[in-house]
């Protein structure tokens, strides 16, 4: 209990530091934010121009696709904003030897790597995703109550946890294998699949996205709470379960990796 409080206090200190240092370089933040928003816009413009000519995708209406797309961007954006520093593990911590510094402190190494830098400018992804979700909601006669919004928020957090788990497992591998982030870039590319209903894919891809690399749970299945009309409800409730199982697995891999870490130092 005291340990938990200790970490919460630390987290508060880290966050306020990070906001202060970001405010010191406002121009960088703004430029990063706009740059990020423009990259998101590429994907959005694709889907918008597609639906100029096509009314629906395998029975999914434009609004539904927008909602799923937005959902995936919000949870991915949350991951990018608060956990991006993990993606620097190979380059910044292992190759440059900064992980030694992390290990010297009497603090959890995972906690330290995550909190050392918050990427506030990546919140552009969240913003773009939220706009897509609200556009979709405003065009659909759904009648959602406050409880539904809270559950959706919970599902977004679960989806973000799944991203966190997937990328934690991937970057942990760099404790054993030297790689400058190219496997991560493949996984980011695969993330594109999460923006669309899994029903447009063939069986093999669907099985992979559901059971092996659970990208179907980062947007499509949780979106079905709002869009599903009862379909896929079992998958909706599986989302937090998948998140917890994968996160536990990820923490395990991280711990083993950190143990296997050998300093590059001289």
């Amino acid at each position: 209990m005291r340990r938990a409080l200790f970490y919460i206090n630390l987290l508060r200190a880290y966050l306020s530091n990070s906001i202060k240092s970001r405010l010191a370089y406002r121009e960088d933040f703004l430029s990063g934010f706009i740059a990020g928003a423009m990259m998101q816009l590429i994907g959005v413009l694709f889907i918008v121009s597609l639906f100029v000519k096509v009314p629906s995708l395998r029975g999914w209406r434009k609004e539904e696709i927008f909602f799923i797309f937005g959902f995936s961007q919000v949870s991915l954006g949350l991951f990018f904003t608060f956990f991006s520093n993990l993606l620097e593990l190979s380059e910044k911590y292992i190759i440059e030897g900064n992980f030694d510094r992390i290990l010297l402190r009497p603090l959890n190494s995972y906690f330290q790597v995550i909190t050392e830098r918050i990427y506030w400018e990546e919140s552009s992804t969240i913003l773009v995703g939220l706009s897509m979700m609200s556009y979709a909601l405003s065009r659909m006669p759904l009648n959602l109550g406050i409880g539904d919004y809270l559950i959706t928020l919970g599902l977004v957090l679960a989806a973000c946890t799944i991203y966190l788990a997937i990328f934690t497992i991937l970057v942990s591998l760099t404790f054993w294998f030297n790689d400058r982030g190219s496997v991560v870039s493949v996984m980011l590319m695969l993330e594109g699949f999460s923006r669309y209903p899994v029903t447009i894919f063939n069986r093999v891809v669907r099985v992979i996205l559901t059971f092996i690399i659970p990208y179907a749970f980062t947007a499509f299945f949780p979106s079905m709470y709002v869009l599903g009309k009862g379909r896929y409800s079992i998958y909706v409730w599986m989302t937090p379960v998948v998140a917890l199982v994968f996160l536990s697995l990820a923490l395990l891999v991280w711990r083993q990796g950190a143990r296997a870490y050998e300093s590059t130092g001289s």
Binding site: E27, I34, I42, F46, S49, V54, S182, M189, F193, V205
Partner: protein, 266 residues
């Protein structure tokens, strides 16, 4: 050293740089296959209920996607980023010492990279993707001959656009937003992402006056044999025209940019 030997050396340098990154190139290859796969499923879903959309049949669209993304590996370049980095870290001073045309230096260095990419990305992707996905051979009388020429022109056109974007680094310290904006324009309006016939008419009219669609859309139409002979010639001539215009603009802007340069440190 003769002029030609000089540019041959720059090309070789660009080529050799990438030999060091074999694993990254392999991963990049996987990423491209993933993008093509995602596009395959998307377009399959789109064409489920339609024969022809925006002037394309399913078969043409699949070929468009595979050849388009493969060609992108060839005509992509990092000129804008390289100039920006060189200005920021001062290594531009070394580049300026070279008794050469700065613009052509960048064009040819990037072309060396493009040759590397052609051998180790473009060709392998086309081969593997045509085994997995339905891809047709170049059609029409001129497709097989003029398409390669047209894609080489695409390279120089895109190199020019990147060069101009890179020069922005001489005028502003923080050029990330500009780089991303250029990327957005190229990704969306070159036609790699989606054929520009999907855009509303007024957008297509605007694009007629801009160079972007000659990067990918025009060559791909030639590949697919979708243009009559006169239009094919016209397309290639317009590519050449834009290359010349952008090259000359680059020379003029350079004249002003070099006066703005201040190198720090010592």
């Amino acid at each position: 050293m003769s002029r030609l030997a000089k540019y041959w050396a720059f090309m070789r340098m660009g080529y050799l740089t990438y030999l060091a990154y074999r694993f990254q190139v392999l991963m990049s290859f996987v990423s491209y296959l993933l993008i093509i796969a995602l596009n395959y499923f998307l377009w399959k879903a789109v064409f489920a209920k339609h024969q022809v959309i925006a002037g394309f049949t399913m078969e043409q669209m699949m070929t468009y996607v595979v050849i388009g993304w493969s060609a992108r590996t060839f005509f992509a370049n990092r000129i804008d980023r390289m100039i920006g980095d060189a200005v920021r870290d001062g290594s531009i001073a070394m580049d300026l010492l070279k008794p050469t045309n700065f613009q052509l230096y960048h064009y040819f260095r990037a072309f060396g990279r493009a040759v590397f990419m052609f051998l180790f990305m473009t060709l392998p992707i086309i081969i593997v993707a045509s085994v997995i996905f339905p891809v047709s051979l170049p059609s029409g009388k001129l497709g097989p001959y003029l398409f390669p020429l047209s894609v080489i022109l695409s390279f120089f056109l895109h190199a020019g656009i990147s060069y101009l974007t890179g020069l922005v680094a001489f005028f502003t310290r923080n050029n990330e937003g500009v780089l991303r904006f250029k990327q957005l324009l190229v990704e969306v309006f070159s036609g790699v992402m989606i054929p520009i016939t999907f855009f509303p008419d007024w957008v297509q009219n605007v694009l007629f006056w801009l160079p972007f669609k000659y990067i990918a859309y025009a060559p791909l139409r030639i590949y697919l044999g979708m243009e009559p002979l006169s239009k094919v010639h016209q397309g290639v001539l317009l590519q050449i025209m834009w290359i010349v215009i952008i090259y000359l603009t680059g020379q003029i802007v350079w004249h002003y940019a070099i006066k703005r340069l201040e190198i720090q440190g010592g």
